[in-house]
């Protein structure tokens, strides 16, 4: 009967997100509550890690805000995530980009993905077109 649990977990995965990869720069539209009002806040940064699957899948996004590094985890099953956009694709060779925490400025850049292998590694424009 464990498949009942799978069923519940799958029904929790409701968001329709683009296929982003580690190293991409994402724009996460996140609903926040201020008193009675609800508004959408955009968090834009580099996707530096991903964990969990199914309804437990979560992403870590890092950005530099007023010269301070800010990282935020978003559970993808959260009803508070409105949408996610890919601002720029990135080419990296690691699953977790924790090394970015030690780098500043020009060193913390990520090369953009190019379409040199067919069917793999689409660049920003192509990813957005595919949506």
């Amino acid at each position: 009967m464990a498949n009942m649990i799978d069923l519940i977990e799958k029904s929790e995965v409701t968001g329709d997100f683009p296929k982003f990869q580690i190293g991409d720069t994402l724009r996460v539209f996140f609903k926040i509550k201020e008193g009675d009002k609800e508004r959408v806040q955009v968090f834009e940064g580099v996707l530096i890690g991903e964990r969990g699957g199914s309804n437990k899948r979560a992403i870590t996004v890092r950005k530099i805000s007023f010269s301070h590094g800010v990282e935020r985890m978003f559970p993808l099953a959260s009803p508070r995530i409105e949408k996610i956009e890919i601002a720029q694709t990135g080419y990296v060779r690691r699953a977790k980009l924790y090394y970015l925490r030690d780098l500043r400025g020009k060193k913390a850049r990520i090369r953009e993905r190019q379409d040199y292998k067919k069917g793999k590694d689409l660049s920003t424009a192509q990813v957005n077109a595919a949506k």
Partner: protein, 247 residues
């Protein structure tokens, strides 16, 4: 005396409720319970309902048991359990009747009892949360010991009830006041906040909690009215959504 029913523990997962709060839940499968017999004041000296639960192959049922079920006109079940019920309430149930999810209507919190996972012969650190001994600074072969177990010639014995190593787990444990998060009528599932004793696939006994329902963190809803606004609405939407359809 509150009525109870039986259900199977399927396992745990986590879900989001409407407000964007993630809650850990235990999934319980509630197949129908059948009223197999009644204990009455005149005959037995107390009042209770005997419920049957779970499927069993006909081959495994012996003749006397079969007869017992036949009297109630119920297919033999794997488990039989008694639940104490008031005399007045007893009249509400008929022998042979089926009890389903309607049992949970309007109910916010449950007491759930099950047999905990057996841990075997466990030491004092695991069994009673003793601190053990320091890992260094000259500790010699007593890292997980309990220390002294008594005094001197006075009283000259170990006091009764002294916590020591021994068998742990595999006993009846009741978790009280577990909040109902969602009821999925189509699949006969109940989602309850938090953990429930026992391993997956084990049968647990569920009773309506006598305690005041706890508020859900970030959501509130400690009273029935308050809760019917939020989580119960979420439960209905969830029941639909889980049937493969989108919310």
């Amino acid at each position: 005396m509150t009525m109870g029913i039986m259900a199977t523990k399927l396992g745990m997962t986590q879900i989001f409720i409407e407000e964007g709060v993630r809650v850990p839940v235990t999934v319980l499968k509630m197949d129908p319970n059948f009223v197999v017999s009644k204990k009455t004041m005149e005959k037995d000296g107390y009042t209770a309902l005997q419920l049957g639960f779970g499927q069993i192959r006909a081959k495994l049922v012996n003749k006397p048991t079969k007869g017992h079920f036949q009297k109630a006109n119920v297919e033999p079940t794997r488990f039989l359990s008694e639940f104490r019920v008031d005399e007045k309430e007893l009249a509400n149930y008929e022998i042979g009747a089926q009890i389903g999810l309607e049992f949970f209507e309007g109910v916010l919190s449950l007491d759930i009892a099950g047999v905990s996972k057996g841990k075997g012969f466990a030491g004092v650190m695991k069994r009673h949360n003793f601190a053990g001994f320091p890992a260094s600074h000259g500790t010699h072969e007593t890292f997980r010991h309990g220390g002294s177990i008594g005094m001197r010639a006075q009283p000259g014995k170990v006091l009764k009830g002294k916590r020591m190593a021994g068998h742990m787990g595999d006993e009846l444990v009741t978790m009280k006041n577990l909040r109902v998060i969602r009821i999925m009528a189509e699949e006969n599932l109940i989602l309850v906040r938090g953990a429930v004793p026992g391993s997956k696939g084990k049968v647990v006994e569920i009773k309506v909690s006598t305690r005041k329902p706890k508020a859900l963190p970030g959501v509130g809803g400690a009273t029935l009215e308050e809760a019917s606004k939020n989580p119960m609405k979420a439960s209905k939407a969830g029941a639909k959504g889980a049937g493969g359809k989108k919310k």
